[in-house]
């Protein structure tokens, strides 16, 4: 469903992505591993379409992902290092906006998702009053509400406590069981139950 072919990207003099390619089918997860600076974030941003590769293509359902009729952006959700929240808006307002850009969303759905992620009490707090872990949980709520098929997660476990880590792994398992795709970058291990997880080591 997602096919990435021979990506090359230079950052100044550095050849960051050197012919990276992989395929992902429904229910599969690709764990992108590698040391700091190995290009994990760059790969994720390139696959998401935020960065244009110098060479190589990303295909979604056998169409070029950046072509207009591929519907790629609608089926993709990207959670970056930072939670992408407006600090002057409440967690709830942030979600209403960010999810609302994609599709209509009911208030009850937002409340339920925040409760699922254990941050229901933060809904009406401005995002600047939230801790890094709480911000991450709100960002994950956005991910769930986006109803995307392809999840692209950059270090989803940072700033989360042990319970939060288990929660994220559980969400990933659920997503894969429902036929979703996931591209996850972490420098550590990713202890998920699904046996359809592969590992891509960047050097």
């Amino acid at each position: 469903m997602l096919k990435v072919e021979n990506l090359h990207l230079w950052r100044g003099e550095r050849h960051v992505l050197r012919g990276v390619g992989f395929r992902l089918e429904p229910g599969e997860l690709l764990h992108v591993a590698g040391a700091n600076g190995a290009g994990k974030t760059t790969l994720l941003r390139t696959v998401a379409g935020l960065v244009q590769p110098e060479q190589g293509e990303v295909y979604w359902r056998n169409k070029l992902a950046h072509s207009l009729d591929s519907g790629y952006a609608e089926q993709l959700a990207y959670v970056a290092h930072d939670a992408a929240l407006k600090s002057d808006l409440t967690a709830y307002e942030n979600l209403v906006f960010m999810v609302g850009l994609r599709h209509a969303v009911a208030d009850s759905a937002i409340g339920l998702t925040l409760a699922k992620l254990g941050v229901a009490h933060c809904a009406n707090l401005p995002a600047r009053a939230l801790s890094a872990g709480q911000r991450r949980r709100v960002a994950l709520a956005r991910l769930l509400l986006s109803e995307a098929v392809l999840w692209i997660l950059d270090e989803p476990l940072t700033n989360l406590d042990a319970a939060g880590g288990t929660l994220v792994l559980g969400l990933l398992d659920e997503h894969l069981a429902a036929g979703g795709l996931a591209l996850v970058a972490t420098h550590g291990e990713l202890a998920i139950r699904s046996d359809r997880a592969r590992r891509l080591e960047l050097t």
Partner: protein
């Protein structure tokens, strides 16, 4: 089945969000406005309070002050969204980037440009602009500030990845704003002299139509490069 958000609904959502954000920080909202009033009152204080002399410089002072105070707020047009990562989420939302940029520009004008237009008669009064000429000035500034916001959105998008970009931004936008200044000040000038100011106003309208239709595309392209 979920219903995809249409472009217009997305634009409305973004405008509402930006207005809400602006009103959460009222001090930033007032800064360009106060700057505009202070600059326009500095001239009568420093030159001479002679009404005839003030009337001669009034068009230039009004327009230059409006230009500079619009520039003040321009840096924040896209920068804060770029810094906290919400800009790239907007790009990934599947909505056209052009519409997102245009919505942000409109919201920016509502809080930064429109208030200037509204208080410009006050500033005009302090410079001895006759009430009869005020309406032309307001009309001109209405189109002028909106054009500036659109022009500025291109500059803001180009400098989105640059740190401390305010000087660079001014250097990019001010030359583009020169035609605006020429026709805008001319319109006020003609109105003060009691002549018909339709010609420069039409030209301002043409500039507005041009920038409103072309600038969002340039800004969207620059945003895509900027978040790279």
């Amino acid at each position: 089945m979920t219903v995809r958000t249409g472009v217009l609904a997305a634009v409305a959502l973004l405008v509402r969000r930006d207005l809400r954000l602006a009103f959460r920080r009222p001090s930033q909202l007032c800064n360009p406005l106060v700057f505009f009033l202070v600059v326009t009152t500095l001239f009568p204080l420093s030159l001479s309070p002679l009404a005839s002399q003030l009337r001669d410089i009034a068009p230039g002072v009004l327009w230059v002050a409006a230009l500079l105070s619009s520039l003040l707020a321009l840096e924040g047009l896209l920068k804060s969204d770029a810094e906290d990562g919400t800009l790239e989420q907007m790009v990934l939302s599947g909505q056209p980037v052009v519409a997102m940029v245009a919505a942000k520009t409109l919201a920016h004008w509502f809080v930064g440009g429109l208030p200037l237009v509204v208080i410009s008669p006050l500033a005009g009064l302090s410079l001895g602009v006759p009430p009869a000429a005020m309406w032309v000035t307001v009309e001109g500034l209405l189109m002028g500030t909106l054009t500036l916001s659109f022009l500025g959105s291109v500059g803001a998008a180009l400098t989105v990845g640059v740190r401390r970009s305010s000087v660079l931004l001014s250097l990019l936008v001010l030359p583009l704003a020169m035609p605006l200044l020429i026709f805008g000040a001319r319109a006020t000038d003609l109105a003060i002299a009691g002549e018909g100011a339709a010609a420069p106003l039409y030209l301002l309208g043409a500039l507005l139509a041009l920038s409103a239709t072309l600038a969002p595309f340039a800004a969207a392209a620059a945003v895509r490069i900027g978040i790279d």
